[in-house]
Symmetry: C2
């Protein structure tokens, strides 16, 4: 397990951790080096410069997320409604805090970097398409399905932004009720 020598993946993994914790600004080669207990001599062996690392992060995130959403919305025996609730459970709640953190950091990054913005747009397009299909499977016409998907994803990301101050049971209950509104039972 403990490889005695680092590779590109080691640096990428550390970079995503730094991204999750502190945003793009915190993925700095000397900080990553300290975290990996090496010096930056190692980094500049595996990468040409910081730019190359950052670009690799974008590409890796994009392909990973697109694969993920496709797998998550592929209903093998599940009903569309079950599929939607499943996706909601993956992102929502306090499961997968790292995933949420990366997601939010990525979007904050995209707000100022056109390259990141482009990547996020591609991923979002794919996600909206996949989730729209699930809603369409519920019997909604295309426009309604898309609107539902739009609401669905806005809620998921927005939830990560909302400060959850105390009263966790209250938010828990609210989240459940939101789920019922987001993926309607008695369609159409």
């Amino acid at each position: 397990m403990e490889a005695k020598t680092l590779n590109r993946e080691s640096w990428l993994s550390a970079a995503f951790s730094a991204l999750a914790e502190g945003g793009v600004e915190q993925v700095r080669v000397e900080l990553l080096a300290k975290r990996l207990k090496v010096t930056k001599g190692s980094f500049y062996w595996h990468f040409r410069d910081r730019m190359e690392l950052v670009e690799a992060m974008l590409e890796g995130w994009k392909t990973g997320r697109i694969e993920a959403i496709k797998a998550q919305t592929r209903l093998d025996g599940r009903t569309p409604a079950e599929g939607l609730r499943y996706v909601l459970s993956l992102y929502g709640g306090s499961n997968n805090p790292r995933g949420i953190a990366i997601e939010l950091a990525m979007r904050d990054w995209a707000r100022r970097d056109p390259r990141a913005s482009e990547i996020v747009a591609e991923v979002d397009r794919e996600r909206l398409r996949c989730v729209s299909d699930l809603f369409a499977g519920l019997g909604l016409d295309p426009d309604d399905a898309f609107a539902r998907a739009y609401l669905f994803y806005s809620f998921i990301f927005g939830e990560g932004l909302l400060a959850r101050s105390a009263a966790p049971d209250r938010f828990e209950k609210a989240r459940d009720l939101c789920g019922k509104v987001l993926v309607p039972e008695g369609v159409v």
Copy 2:
């Protein structure tokens, strides 16, 4: 209009602009000084250090936002539903991009700074309370009203995060449909 001498407000205003454009990391005294066409000698006259500026930003934002939400949800003759649609129109859409940008930057900041997190939590608490009241005015019981407010605000902030790639009319239509789902017509 053009004051020949700067004051704390001038620096705060510039700081919020920098925050909106590039996040907290971009509110740096030398950058602000360049923007204000002065040197940082001026800054250190009005503020003890960068920390004091940042603290002033937090306080100013907090009181300003709390006042704003109270005013925006005070229905003078409006029905609760109208009030909700009004609030939605204020944040949603592409009106007020600066406000949205500050909002998102603030939340990204809150993700790593406990002080900012606390401030955002206070503002969110107040907002959820105000909007919950509007939903309650629609005839919903407290739990449902809170859940609706939770959904409402999650959507508003999440919408700002979602990449809007081309096809603006499609998103426009989706947003309208979302509005109908968020603030129900035929209650309860």
